[in-house]
Amino acid sequence: METTKTIINYTHRQAGHCESGATSNLFKFYGLDISEPMAFGIGNGLYFSYIPFLKIMFAPMISFRNLPNTVFRRATQYLGIEATVIKKIKDPKEAMAMLDRNLEQGIPTGMQVGVFQLTFFPPEYRQHYNMHNLVAFGKEGNLYHISDTVMEFPQVLTYDDLLRVRYAGGAFAPQGKMYWINNLKPGIDIKPAIIKGIKKTVYEMIGIPFPLIGVKGLKWMARDLKKWPKKHGNEKASFYLGQILRMAEDFGTGGAGFRYIYGAFLKEAGELFGNHTELLEAADIMGKTANKWREFTYIGARNCKNRSKPEEDYGMLSDMLMGIAQNEEIVYRKLEKIKF
């Protein structure tokens, strides 16, 4: 059989967050120079939700990121870029054929996949997590060339493996979701997009009138954390605490539940707006809060190590989390007041 070979000249850059990294790389491919934190900030990557009654991997669902595909969709919408997002493709074969057609036309295509059966992924992260994103940029016979921003170098996947991860089942199933950019005109002004992005993030973190989302959710979780040892016993409490830390530090976050990336975005935006004092101040507080998240991880991990006899008091950890929530609230209130 004759092997066809199409490889697009697509530059793979490693990033902290899978989706904003993919978005930034796609923009750069079409000539719009947007860094990863910028794409993350404009596309509202920052989020927090705590849903104690929904269990994912045997612990309450905690999410530090927005729903899958929000970053790409909002970033293209705010920047006014023509893009196509196909949410659901029923027939797996058709989904793969569409990908092939795109690659033949020279369009690098992003996809949502599940991590559990992703063969090249580090084995310690292979859990059921369906919100991962990667970009296919070439096909060689049966092999697809994949740019996964969590990994240092581009990878390859076979047809069957790619099909399996694209149709991984479970919560937030990808269902073959794919997205790509159709047309990108040069000379886009990114300042209005930044303003829109900040406003939307502020709304999502402090404006939604529901107690489990945003800063309110963080405070709710801090209060719950205190009760866990009594309610569930030490073993389970430490597992739940571990879940918070796993969600905040691992799963390709770039550290501290994306707070570092968002801080970097604020700093970059501040410089772009001609050293805007308030934005730079907000960036500074965000960075310090992110450092506190790191500290929280160090102390919490000690607790997870000695499960039956926790070294640190859960009350202390709860207070620490409450302090973090208050610090974050200061940042969002500051951003809310800024007039551009």
Partner: protein, 131 residues
């Protein structure tokens, strides 16, 4: 064999991929470094895998003792819960739970077994006989 590059992991299969990490320095600059996860991250990941390992081992013993069907073992092995297994295999939650009984499992239809085998990515023979 390659040298183990990440000092916090003893097993050479784990923790070998370098990641991009952000940090905030005292001088107010955000820095990007490519490096390994540190000790705390290993502990919290290890905790999760220990937990899953215990559950798998427990399920294996129960299957050997004839208390539950192999479906329960493979469900634990694939880190699933009944609800997610139902979603992946296309079988309702209550039926999945019903199939945990060995008696019910033994007279299951070929079609249903095929659904489970596909969800677990194994053959029907493997599904019937656990190692």
């Amino acid at each position: 064999m390659e040298e183990n590059q990440n000092p916090v992991y003893k097993n050479k299969d784990y923790g070998q991929s370098r990641e991009l990490l952000y940090s905030y320095e005292n001088d107010g600059q955000y820095k990007k470094t490519v490096g390994f996860h540190g000790e705390p991250d290993r502990i919290i990941l290890q905790q999760a895998w220990d937990h899953f390992g215990e559950r798998i081992e427990d399920a294996r013993k129960r299957v050997k003792a004839g208390k539950v069907s192999p479906v329960a073992y493979y469900m634990e092995k694939n880190l699933l819960d009944p609800m997610n297994l139902g979603m992946i295999a296309g079988i309702s939650l209550w039926r999945v739970k019903w199939h945990f009984k060995p008696i019910v499992f033994n007279r299951l239809h070929e079609k249903t077994l095929q659904k489970y085998a596909k969800a677990f990515n194994i053959t029907i023979d493997q599904l019937k006989n656990i190692e």
